[in-house]
């Protein structure tokens, strides 16, 4: 039987229902990145230290750049173009985990969220680099290279702020309490998971979560932070979001959907 997967130099077309299943994964990843990049970019001009402002702006650009990459792959599978996806869908159509739609909060919350997300992205990308679908594997390898800096950056901030002063510890602990349940939602299965796992596209989310916990727990503990016992906040992968997403999208999409113009 012929392989269902195109060879590397073939077109990226996939047969249904696998195409739809892979699309759901890409959608979740792209939505995660574009919204996180947006939240990160809200710090530009307002960060605690000038150099940190500059670094966070790069991280924001990286995340949005990743989103463009995933949306572009999605487009090759038959979805609308990246700008249509980012600017012309409504909250129930988004498949991001709720973690990334939450407001930026204080620097502690942003750092904790970025840390939890960066390591989740790391384990996901490393798994996808072995994906049976080569365009995805290749894209994952590219993105993984940029993650090196993110991991350094997040880890350094967490280790410094976690136990430096009473106030920094308090804020970081509060941030972790708030973020952790939503971070677990990064591993909520996206529709089509069973099919993707069977086809060798990705390992199960539960496995990714386990790898992620093995990475983040030691760092959080070294930062003197206590990991909450909490139930995951699920729903994001099915389009069920907090009220924050509508407010975010009103900002994000306002000009594009104003009707003033088509091209900018």
């Amino acid at each position: 039987m012929a392989s269902p997967f195109p060879k590397p130099n073939e077109t990226v077309a996939l047969p249904d229902p696998l195409r739809e299943a892979v699309g759901q994964l890409l959608l979740a990843m792209a939505d995660d990145e574009v919204l996180l990049g947006h939240r990160d970019s809200e710090w530009v001009g307002h960060a605690p230290i000038l150099e940190a402002d500059i670094a966070m702006a790069s991280i924001a650009q990286d995340e949005i750049g990743h989103a463009v990459l995933w949306y572009s792959l999605l487009q090759e599978l038959g979805w609308p173009d990246p700008d249509r996806m980012a600017y012309f869908r409504d909250p129930p159509e988004f498949r991001n985990a709720t973690l990334v739609e939450l407001p930026k909060g204080d620097w502690a919350f942003t750092i904790i969220r970025q840390f939890l997300f960066d390591f989740a992205e790391k384990v996901r990308l490393e798994a996808l680099m072995a994906s049976a679908w080569t365009p995805l594997a290749a894209a994952a390898a590219k993105v993984r290279r940029e993650e090196t800096y993110h991991l350094m950056h997040s880890r350094a901030w967490v280790l410094r702020l976690g136990d430096a002063t009473e106030e920094s510890h308090r804020r970081m602990q509060a941030a972790l309490e708030q973020a952790w349940p939503h971070a677990l939602g990064l591993f909520e299965p996206t529709p089509g998971e069973i099919l993707r796992v069977e086809a060798g596209i990705q390992p199960p989310e539960a496995e990714l979560r386990a790898r992620w916990e093995a990475e983040v727990r030691p760092i959080l503990e070294a930062a003197s932070l206590r990991i909450p016992e909490a139930e995951p906040v699920y729903g994001g992968r099915l389009g069920r979001h907090t009220e924050h997403l509508a407010a975010l999208l009103a900002d994000f999409q306002g000009v594009a959907r104003s009707g003033l113009g088509e091209t900018w």
């Binding site: 230290i49 150099e51 990743h66 590219k142 940029e146 090196t148 800096y149 410094r160």
Partner: protein, 86 residues
Amino acid sequence: MHVGAVHAPDPEMALILAKEQFARRGRCVSLWVVPAEAIYASRAEEAEELFASALEKEYREPRGFRVAERVRRWMERHGQSLPEAE
């Protein structure tokens, strides 16, 4: 060769923060943080990833393309003479 200074609490943080301030448009092979008594350099095996943007950021280059430079391997941590200050 460009040289600068960052406000940071320690050498690792200086490196992390300096990297984006001085090397975000590539053209950087090595980033050194030079203290009075030690040199903290980005690790050789990370150089490729740290300084070569994996995804095109041509949008922030005047000519619309990223300066294409190969990232060379790091010099040894100790034993290299310091570059001239600017």
